[in-house]
């Protein structure tokens, strides 16, 4: 999207009031103890349990295909538009392309997001593109690009995973030829704890090492996002940030591959519903 230089973004040095509240005084260790008690998380989930997921297709009437996903409080809308010629390109490309744009709505996070894409959103767009491209039969539309826009309405953790799963659904609904259903799941690691489908506060806990200076505790920490084509058992994107050793990663990959299998039937069901609706409408 072209950058709008005329837009006034408001003072940049504003900060959320929460930094001044008492909650913020908590140390990471206390926050972690609060987040997980006896293997049960704040929302009464087990460590390896998904939040409740809701999906719906055909949300945006102007788009070729669109989908909406809710994972707990995380809400994402993805719309997919008709293929168009790749702009500003001289060479003919044999494979079609996906253009992905990942955006947090200004009100989606505790801190207000600006209108322009920031570094995190750009990175998420790149990850999303890499995750989706192997799922799409790009040879079917040479020299054309399909635009995929993801808008996060509310971010309560695992927003990127939600966007990828949702984009897969929207692409399928748009009638873009695909090899398989694409799903994505996030896991957060802090020390020995592995939190599947983390919420926002759990995600923040996983970004920094808590046991850094203590010799005893395990100081692994990080976030892993794995996108999978389930029938083909192909990982299209493996994205990890933090500090993990190979054993952690191996375990995470196993957990995430299994976790993706849980999401697949939900996507299938949603697509089937869409088809049935289409058939009913055309027979009337």
């Amino acid at each position: 999207m072209p950058v709008d230089h005329k837009r006034i973004n408001g003072p940049e040095n504003t900060i959320p009031y929460k930094l001044y509240t008492k909650l913020n005084v908590k140390s990471f260790k206390e926050a972690l103890q609060d987040a997980v008690k006896n293997g049960v998380r704040n929302d009464k989930r087990k460590l390896d349990e998904h939040r409740r997921i809701f999906m719906k297709t055909d949300i945006v009437s102007q788009a070729k295909g669109s989908a909406y996903i809710e994972i707990g409080n995380t809400k994402v809308v993805v719309s997919v538009f008709d293929p168009r010629e790749i702009p500003n390109k001289n060479e003919y490309s044999l494979n079609g392309e996906l253009y992905c744009e990942f955006k947090f709505a200004p009100f989606s996070c505790p801190k207000r997001r600006l209108h322009q894409q920031d570094a995190e959103e750009k990175q998420n767009s790149i990850v999303m593109k890499q995750a989706l491209e192997p799922a799409v039969c790009r040879h079917e539309f040479p020299n054309f690009q399909v635009d995929v826009y993801a808008l996060v309405l509310e971010n309560d953790g695992s927003a990127l995973s939600a966007a990828i799963t949702c984009a897969g659904l929207a692409l399928a609904q748009a009638g873009i030829p695909m090899f398989d259903i694409i799903t994505s799941v996030t896991i957060g690691i802090q020390g020995d704890l592995k939190l599947l489908d983390p919420m926002l506060h759990e995600e923040t806990l996983c970004y920094t090492s808590i046991n850094k200076n203590s010799k005893t505790g395990k100081n692994s920490h990080g976030i892993v996002i794995l996108s999978l084509l389930n029938t083909h058992q192909q990982v299209t994107e493996f994205y990890q940030v933090g500090s993990l050793d190979i054993d952690d990663i191996e375990e995470c990959t196993k957990v995430l591959t299994e976790a993706n299998k849980v999401v697949v039937p939900l996507v299938e069901k949603c697509l089937a519903k869409h088809v049935i609706k289409g058939v009913k409408e055309s027979s009337q």
């Binding site: 900060i15 990175q123 920490h221 990080g222 084509l229 493996f238 050793d245």
Partner: protein, 283 residues
């Protein structure tokens, strides 16, 4: 550069036989050349030449205000300039996507506090901190940018000296600092855990390390792993391919092995660099 099908098959067969077009094994690097403190106005700098890939990294340090939610930490930012000298593809805004991809991956790789200690950059809690600007200039592009850049960044940070702050005085709202004028009074950064990136390029059924640009064109996708002290700080899949979970694990193990080897080689090379060595053609 575009390759014909026959050339691609040739490269593919070479990789299968573990004998690549330049005679290397699948997990060998091309020869590297590393220079440090090449730019006088920078606080630290390094130039790395990896066969045909040439990058210059400079480090500038300036004073900034810490993030309000992390008052005890300094900042670090990466900027990449894909100059059109490197390859004609970078002309205009051509290199922009690649530049954001690399700088974001670097930011991700350096984000953890077990990789780089940001609290060392704090001068006064919530008021003053050092901000490290890492500027990367790509002079020539001969494949394997990630590895080359990460090595050069680590060398440049190793080379960086931060001025010593002797005292900080607070007068009402004003913060005044007394920075040592003596050039030898400097703090060196601790970069022992700074990550090195290894690109694993999948060609046919095998993975190659340090791909040339011709090999990059034959690849069905690549994984970039950032290794810091034997641990993964970032893993990122790129290049449009997909992998079986088991293949993925195999590649990651290979990446960790190669990364550790690379780290040993780099620290050995850095230990050989003399303090205050003269640089340039005139010496």
């Amino acid at each position: 550069m575009t390759l014909s099908e026959a050339e691609k098959t040739f490269i593919l067969h070479g990789v299968q036989e573990n004998f690549r077009i330049d005679g290397r094994n699948r997990d060998d690097y091309r020869p590297m050349e590393l220079e440090t403190s090449i730019i006088t106005h920078a606080f630290g700098s390094a130039r790395l030449r990896l066969a045909n890939t040439d990058v210059v990294v400079t480090v500038k340090v300036e004073i900034d205000v810490p993030f309000p939610d992390r008052p005890l930490e300094g900042k670090m930012e990466f900027f990449i300039d894909c100059s059109a000298n490197a390859t004609p593809d970078f002309e205009g805004r051509g290199g922009e996507n690649l530049a954001t991809e690399i700088s974001n991956t670097l930011t991700a790789a350096y984000s953890s506090n077990s990789v780089f200690d940001y609290t060392k950059l704090c001068i006064l809690k919530g008021r003053k901190c050092w901000k490290i600007y890492v500027d990367i200039l790509i002079l020539e592009c001969g494949g394997n940018l990630y590895d080359a850049i990460s090595i050069a960044v680590k060398a440049a940070l190793w080379n960086t000296s931060i001025p010593l702050v002797k005292s900080v005085t607070i007068d009402g709202n004003n913060v005044d600092m007394n920075v040592s004028e003596n050039l030898s009074d400097c703090i060196k950064l601790d970069i022992s855990a700074a990550p090195l990136m290894v690109t694993l390029c999948k060609i046919g059924d095998h993975c190659v390390v340090d791909p040339t640009s011709a090999e990059e064109q034959c690849s069905q996708g690549a994984i970039v792993v950032a290794i810091s002290k034997g641990k993964f700080s970032t893993v990122f899949q790129t290049g449009g391919g997909s992998l079986h979970p088991l293949t993925l694990m195999e590649k990651l193990k290979l990446g960790a092995k190669v990364g550790n080897r690379l780290e040993e080689a780099l620290s050995e090379a850095l230990s050989k660099i003399k303090e205050n060595g003269e640089m340039g053609f005139l010496n």
